[in-house]
């Protein structure tokens, strides 16, 4: 934390590396969604217009696959970074799911329903962030697997009968849909619509959040930083 940041009451939440990964992830998911859903709902007039813009159904596939490869590359880079870099390892520890997250979730639920007095106190990443993070990681791995299976269809069918590929197609499409439902109703809610951040949590652009926000939303992290004398 630089002095200027501290003076302005700001704390770094996302380093430049993570912001770049996040930005790449966001753009690629958008490209994949636009090209993918256009094919999934090809009867829809808007989908047809999108396919025409993309240069026909053949080019649509090429764009979708390029984005998919870049996304996987992004993921592989991310995994290596999380497992082997100093910053990554620290983040990874913060992101591990523990028993406590389940309790936090249930406590938050009880609090929201009015049967609990105390709202759970989160560390750097609460159950919301962890659910989003692991959901996205596992989701991308799975959708990537079915995607590559369908891409190399002849190769896949050396090992799987045709109906497994039909199944892969169904899963691939619905998983994409489910992923976007989660992105919109969970992630975008948490970082845009949630009253504490509305209209937007600036961390994905500037990397910084206000110390006050951290104290209220992630008190354990706030106290940890305070204890380390970083605030």
């Amino acid at each position: 934390m630089s002095r200027a940041d501290l003076a302005a009451g700001k704390v770094i939440r996302m380093s430049l590396r993570f912001r770049l990964q996040h930005f790449l992830l966001m753009m690629l998911l958008l490209v994949l969604a636009v090209t993918g859903f256009a094919l999934m709902y090809h009867d829809n007039a808007l989908a047809q217009a999108i396919i025409r813009i993309e240069g026909g159904v053949q080019n649509r596939g090429v764009v979708h696959r390029i984005a998919a490869v870049l996304l996987l590359a992004n993921l592989v880079y991310h995994i290596f970074y999380m497992l082997f870099s100093r910053e990554g390892k620290a983040e990874f520890r913060e992101l591990l799911v523990t028993r406590r997250d389940v309790d936090d979730f249930l406590q938050a639920l009880r609090y929201n329903l009015g049967t609990e007095k105390e709202y759970p106190r989160f560390g750097k990443y609460g159950y919301r962030e962890k659910f989003q993070y692991w959901g996205a990681t596992v989701g991308i791995l799975l959708i990537g697997f079915t995607g590559f299976m369908l891409w190399a269809e002849t190769f896949s069918m050396r090992f799987f009968p045709k109906f497994i590929l039909d199944l892969a197609l169904i899963i691939h499409g619905y998983q994409g849909l489910l992923g976007f439902v989660l992105l919109f109703l969970w992630h975008l809610y948490n970082v845009h619509l949630h009253p504490s951040v509305f209209p937007m949590n600036p961390a994905w652009l500037t990397g910084k959040v206000s110390t006050e926000w951290l104290r209220r939303e992630h008190p354990l992290e706030y106290e940890k930083l305070k204890g380390e004398g970083l605030l």
Binding site: H42, V57, R158, P161, F163, D166, I171, Y189
Partner: protein, 353 residues
């Protein structure tokens, strides 16, 4: 006054008489033609050794659509008997055009023909390309509804097969050919798919069998419950194809992607349980292998025309249904969560103040 009457007579004569004169001159009576052509042995030895039968009698046109016509109505270049030169090929367009006053059907088929593959070939100088009479016949032209007609539903394949021999041989043993030979009028003959006068090369985008239009052409019958229910054939094959990768790519203009004919064959379509069928499970690796090099027996495991919305699709239906409800439930749960969370958050804010 007399001068005026004379003028009227001359005028009327000028109008009417040439008609009489033409009729008198052109309509050479049948008897005159059959003087020679009525002899059964009247034939000509051609330079290549073939014999051209020139035997024609008053019965030659009997029963045909031209029953009431005389020889020179069509062979109008014969104006003296005996004719010195061989009469030219009959030009049907003499009468058969839209707006004709000879009583021929008012149709522009002749124009469509000139635009077709056959008409273009004729125009390009291909002497083997068919003219009207090559398909419709010469003296015994019958209405298409008449089963004996050369262009009737049951006979047209044979007629086309006079030139397209190999295709005819394939078609004859195909499911459509066999059905037609059994007298099933719903089965398509050549013209059922290719059209009649508007026949184009399959590489011409105007053709009804152009790659991107094949599924549309097949679906005319194969999507019809009324027709297919008679034979116990499923009708959703077209819909499932349209939903598949192949169908979508075809819809968006890919000419290389598989259409109905790529897998089922063109003229040699056979039912899947026929060992010679291209879609017989044992032949599927080879058929799919045309586009997917290295295709193996796995290509035949599982239904090809699969519809995830139908229970008969088994695990595929159940997976799709599971995901459908999973997605709906997730959406509902998340929306409920958002409202709960916002409510709770408001309480927290109030508490902090």
């Amino acid at each position: 006054m007399r001068k005026f009457l004379f003028a009227v007579v001359v005028f009327l004569g000028g109008v009417v008489l040439p008609g009489f004169a033409r009729d008198a001159g052109a309509a050479i009576s049948l008897e005159k033609c059959t003087l020679c052509h009525g002899k059964p042995e009247f034939r000509k030895l051609l330079v290549d050794g073939a014999i051209r039968d020139l035997f024609v009698t008053g019965d030659s046109l009997k029963g045909s659509v031209h029953e009431k016509k005389g020889c020179t109505d069509c062979h109008f270049d014969v104006n003296e008997i005996p004719h010195r030169e061989r009469p030219k090929r009959v030009t049907c367009t003499h009468c058969h055009y839209k707006g004709n006053r000879e009583g021929a059907p008012q149709s522009d088929n002749v124009l469509a023909y000139f635009d077709s593959a056959h008409g273009k070939a004729i125009a390009a100088g291909n002497a083997k390309a068919p003219l009207c009479q090559d398909c419709h016949g010469s003296h015994q032209i019958l209405k298409v509804k008449n089963p004996e007609s050369k262009v009737s539903r049951f006979k047209v394949a044979e007629t086309c097969g006079r030139c397209h021999m190999e295709i005819y041989a394939k078609y004859k043993t195909s499911i459509h050919g066999v059905a037609l030979s059994k007298g099933i009028a719903d089965a398509p003959s050549c013209t059922g798919c290719h059209g009649e006068h508007r026949i184009y090369a399959h590489t011409d985008p105007k053709s009804t069998v152009y790659p991107t239009r094949v599924s549309e052409q097949c679906s005319k019958c194969h999507a019809s419950v009324a027709i297919m229910s008679k034979f116990g054939i499923e009708t959703e094959q077209v819909a499932t194809y349209n939903e598949s990768f192949h169908g979508v790519a075809s819809k968006f203009g890919s000419r290389t992607v598989a259409n109905c004919a790529s897998c089922h064959g063109v003229h040699d379509i056979r039912p899947p349980d026929d060992p010679l069928s291209t879609v017989n499970p044992r032949n599927i690796p080879k058929t799919c292998g045309k586009c997917h090099p290295g295709a193996n027996a796995n290509f035949a495991v599982g239904k090809i025309h699969v519809d995830a919305k139908k229970k008969e699709s088994g695990i595929i239906y159940w997976t799709a249904t599971f995901f459908k409800y999973l997605t709906i439930c997730t959406m509902l749960a998340l929306i409920v969560h958002i409202f709960l969370d916002m409510y709770g958050r408001t309480r927290r804010l109030r508490g902090e103040r």
